[in-house]
Amino acid sequence: MTDIRFEGVGKVYPDGTRAVSDLNLNIGEGEFTVLVGPSGCGKTTALRMIAGLEEVSEGRIWIGGDEVNDVEPRKRDVAMVFQNYALYPHMTVFDNIAFPLQNRRMPKPEVRSRVEHAASVLGLTELLQRRPKTLSGGQRQRVAMGRAIVRQPRAFLMDEPLSNLDANLRVQMRAEIARLQRDLAVTTVYVTHDQVEAMTMGSRIAVMRKGVLQHEGPPQDLYDRPANLFVATFIGSPAMNLMRARLESIDGRLTCFVGDQQFELAAELLRAKPHLEAYRGRDVALGVRPEHIGPTVAGRPQLRGVVQLVESLGSERLVHVEIAAEPVLTDEILELKRDIDEAAVQTLQQGHDEHKVLLIARFSPEATTSAGEPVAICLNAQRLHFFDLTTGEALH
C-alpha cells in the first residue's frame, strides 16, 4: 500500500526562511492530490520533501508505511516530473526513458520492452531516437511522463508539469495526465498554482498559503464550502465575489446590509449556518459565486447596481456589475491580488476609497443586459458565504 503521510512537517532554510509549517496531510493510495497555492506558498517545497530533494526540518514523512526522512531520493522509489521536464539533453528519448531502469541494472531486453511499452502508451514510438531539443513542448512533456511511468514507481510527483505549455496543449495534456493516472492508479502528488488545473485533475485538493495548509478535501467541497476567505477567493474562476456587509437584527430577523441596501437572511440559511447569529451587529465578509448571481426573482435577496462590462463567452455572459458597497481588504485578499498583478491591488484600493465593489455574475447567453444599464441582481440565498473579517474563517 502506497499512501503518503505528512506528520507535523516543517521546512526552515539555513537563512531562517520558513517554507512549510506544521503540515499534516494524508494522501491515500491511488489518490490524485493536487497541492495548490500562489507562488511561495510552500507547495513545491512540500513536494520536494517527498522526493527527498529537500531535507525535512521538522516532523516526519511516510511513504507506504516507511518513514523516509533519512532515505536518499534514489531509494524512495518515487518518480518526479519537473517543471522544465529536466530531460537529459545529451541522451535520446529512448535513453531518457530507459535511464531509471538502467540505474537498477535491469537486463537490456527488459529495458527495451518496458521503454517501448511506455512509448506506445504515450505515442512516442516514432520519436525514440530523437534528442529532446528536436521535440515540441508537448512531446517533451510526454517523454518526462514516460521516464516517470516506465519504472512503475510507488508514487508520481509532478511539479507544475504543464506550466510551460500553451493554453490548448495544456488542456489536452491535463486530460492525458488525469487519464494515465487513473489507468495506472499510482498515488500522485501534483503541484500547481493554477486552480483550474487543480479542480479538473485532482481527486483531492490541498490549498496552501505561506507554508500553511489552509483546506484539504475533494474539489467540490472546497468550492462549495471553503474553509476561509483565502480558499474562497483562490478556488473558482472568476473568483468568488466579496463585499463587506453588516448583520443587523430588524424586527427580530437577521438582516444583511450591503452599503445602503439590505436583504433579509432566509431561515434555511440560518439553519445551515447557525454561527451567523453570533455576528448580529457585526461586520462580516459576504461572498457569492458568479453563478449564484442572476436576474431578479421575486422573494430572493436583491442588489442594485450598474453594469460596467459584459463579456460574452458564447455559452454564458459574464456581467460586471458595480454596486455601492465596501470591498473586503484583508491580507489574504491583497496577497492574492498582488499575485495576479499590482494593478489589481490598486483597483481594489480605489474601490475601497470610492465605496464601490465590482461583482461578476454569470448570466445565460440570452440575457440582454448591456454596459451602462442600471440593473437589479438577485443572489441565491442558499449559496451565500460569510467570513469573519478578522480571522478570515468561514462562518458555518
Partner: protein
C-alpha cells in the same frame, strides 16, 4: 529576407578580405622561408623561393633536438594529451564539488584556486624545481604531466566552476530521483552536460602546453624527452641561426594542430559559443 548587394557590402567584403590577407602574412613567410636555401633566406627574405627546396624539412626532421623531430612530436603529444586528460578529469570533479557545495570551506578553496591563476609561476619556480628534482620527476614526461596538471588546475577549476554554477540542478535532481547514485549522476548526466566547457578547457590548456617553451626548457632540457619548442631551439645558435630549417620545423610542428582544427572546427566553435539546450 531579401539580401541587397550594395556598395557598402562590397566595401565591407574588401575590408574583410584585406584583413584576412594580413593574417596570412606569417603563414606566407613560414612556408616561403622553409622552402628557401640558406643564402636565399638572407638575400631575398620576403620574395617567393626561386626553386622549391625541401632539404630544410628533412634536415629539421632528422636533427631537431637530441632524438629528432618525430620523437619531439611524440613527447609534445604525450605531454599535452596526458595533461589535458588529467586536467579535465580532476578539474571537472573539483569544480563540481566547489560549485555545488555552498559552505564557507568551498568558497575559501575556490578563492585559493583564483589566487593560483593570479600568482606568476616564476615566483615558485625554484622551490618547485627542487621538489620535482628530489622526487625524481625532472626529465620525465610523467613529471611534466604532473607539473602542467597542477599549474593549469586553477584555470581549469575556474572555467568549470563558472559553467556548473549556472547549470540547472534539475538534471542532477532528476537523476537522483531516477535512482542514480552520485558517481552515476556525475558520469552519465553531469559530465556530458559539461561538454561545451570541456572543449574550451581542452583547447585552451592544450595550446598552452603544446606551445610552452619555458617549463620544458627548465625541466626537460638536456634529456632525450625534449618537446617541439625546445627541439626547435636547437637550431638557434649564438652566431648562426638556420632560419630555413627553423621555419621548416615550425611548419611541421604546426601541422598536427592545423589538422586537429580542421577536423574539430565545428565542435570547437560550438564549445566556445554553446550553452545547454533541450
Amino acid at each position: 529576407m531579401l539580401f541587397r548587394y550594395t556598395h557598402r557590402t562590397v566595401a565591407r567584403e574588401f575590408v574583410l578580405i584585406a584583413t584576412a590577407l594580413v593574417f596570412c602574412i606569417p603563414l606566407y613567410l613560414l612556408l616561403t622561408m622553409s622552402l628557401k636555401t640558406t643564402s636565399e633566406v638572407y638575400t631575398a627574405p620576403l620574395s617567393l623561393p626561386k626553386s622549391l627546396n625541401f632539404s630544410s624539412y628533412s634536415n629539421a626532421w632528422k636533427n631537431a633536438g637530441p632524438s629528432g623531430m618525430g620523437h619531439a612530436l611524440f613527447v609534445s603529444a604525450t605531454m599535452t594529451v596526458g595533461s589535458v586528460v588529467c586536467l579535465i578529469a580532476i578539474g571537472s570533479l573539483t569544480a563540481y564539488t566547489l560549485a555545488r557545495r555552498t559552505g564557507r570551506m568551498s568558497t575559501f578553496l575556490y578563492l585559493l584556486f583564483l589566487i593560483g591563476i593570479i600568482l606568476p609561476f616564476q615566483l615558485g619556480m625554484i622551490p618547485l624545481y627542487v621538489v620535482m628534482r628530489d622526487v625524481g620527476l625532472t626529465g620525465t614526461v610523467f613529471g611534466m604531466i604532473v607539473l602542467y596538471t597542477g599549474m593549469l588546475m586553477p584555470l581549469t577549476v575556474f572555467l568549470y566552476t563558472g559553467f556548473i554554477r549556472v547549470l540547472p540542478r534539475a538534471y542532477e535532481e532528476a537523476a537522483q530521483v531516477d535512482g542514480a547514485n552520485l558517481r552515476r549522476t556525475y558520469t552519465r548526466v553531469v559530465f556530458p552536460l559539461l561538454r561545451p566547457v570541456t572543449g574550451t578547457v581542452a583547447v585552451l590548456t592544450g595550446i598552452i602546453i603544446w606551445n610552452d617553451f619555458f617549463l620544458p626548457l627548465v625541466f626537460l632540457s638536456g634529456t632525450n624527452n625534449e618537446p617541439i619548442p625546445v627541439a626547435l631551439y636547437s637550431f638557434v645558435g649564438n652566431y648562426v641561426s638556420q632560419w630555413n630549417v627553423i621555419f621548416a620545423a615550425v611548419a611541421i610542428s604546426v601541422l598536427p594542430i592545423l589538422i586537429f582544427y580542421l577536423f574539430a572546427q565545428r565542435e570547437l566553435i560550438r564549445g566556445f559559443a554553446g550553452g545547454i539546450r533541450g
